[in-house]
Symmetry: C2
Subunit: 160 residues, 2 copies
């Protein structure tokens, strides 16, 4: 018998909380003014968010849980099905139908209250599971000049 | 009997690949010049990375799998144990001992070859499981002025 290929390990994650409010419908564009709360699970002590208000922005790590796992792309596709844009690999685009269905977005912090953070510009709908919150630090921005293809700037034109 | 509190759902994720090379030792600082490969699992077709080379930077989502889950902070702590810095919540710092142990770092893309991406400035050691790669787009940077506390800039001074 041939040796079976090694099976990659499964890692279990548990949402730290959920998105409350904001949009209920999955829409591609105009996320910039959407305001929503991220409400932590009550297993977290209320000091889990202490000091976050000193930051203007935070990175939100979440799961596109409404994406049917059967529709996930593992190879290449045209972003948004636009055949006038190049066919690129799933890891060369930020489409939601991706392996592990993880989204990461830098949002503006509006307010913090006990176990809740209000954010502006989170591109995730009401009910989305959140895996992590990280304060945004300028030192985590690119430290060399940024280059990106024209199609990606076109795609982003109406996003916020 | 009292009603049990709702149990948060468990979400299973599977590494898309692993970090190869770079550092083998977990060290806090001087990550900026570390060069490592991210090698995709061979269940991915080779076009999964097509077009990534058009971007100068990418976001790497990974798991701090060497962190003992028993040591994870869910409330507040002094970053790096520095009592001269404020005690802040785990979600107001980027420490690795965090719920779900997820790291997100924007790295410089050095090269792409079939199922492998070479990056500079990834703060994850050899063998780290990677959950996602996303191209960095300037449109995902903060769209309003950034503010952060002094302790965070001090902490980051020697990081890269």
């Amino acid at each position: 018998m041939d040796e079976a290929p090694p099976t990659p390990p499964v890692i279990e994650v548990v949402p730290i909380g959920f998105v409350h409010g904001g949009r209920t419908e999955v829409i591609d564009d105009q996320w910039g003014d959407v305001v929503a709360d991220i409400v932590l699970d009550d297993r977290f002590p209320t000091d889990a968010l202490d000091g976050l208000v000193e930051f203007s922005h935070l990175d939100v790590v979440y799961v596109f849980d409404q994406v049917d796992e059967a529709t996930i792309t593992v190879g290449a596709r045209h972003p948004r099905g636009r055949t006038d844009w190049p066919r690129v690999g799933i890891f060369a685009q930020r489409a939601k139908g991706r392996p592990n269905r993880i989204g990461v977005t830098t949002c503006e912090l509006v307010a913090v209250a006990e176990r809740s953070v209000t954010v502006r510009g989170l591109d995730a709908v009401d009910g989305t599971p959140v895996l992590d919150l990280k304060p945004y630090m300028t030192e985590f921005a690119p430290r060399s000049p940024v280059r990106q293809p024209e199609w990606s700037s076109e795609l982003m034109r109406e996003y916020w």
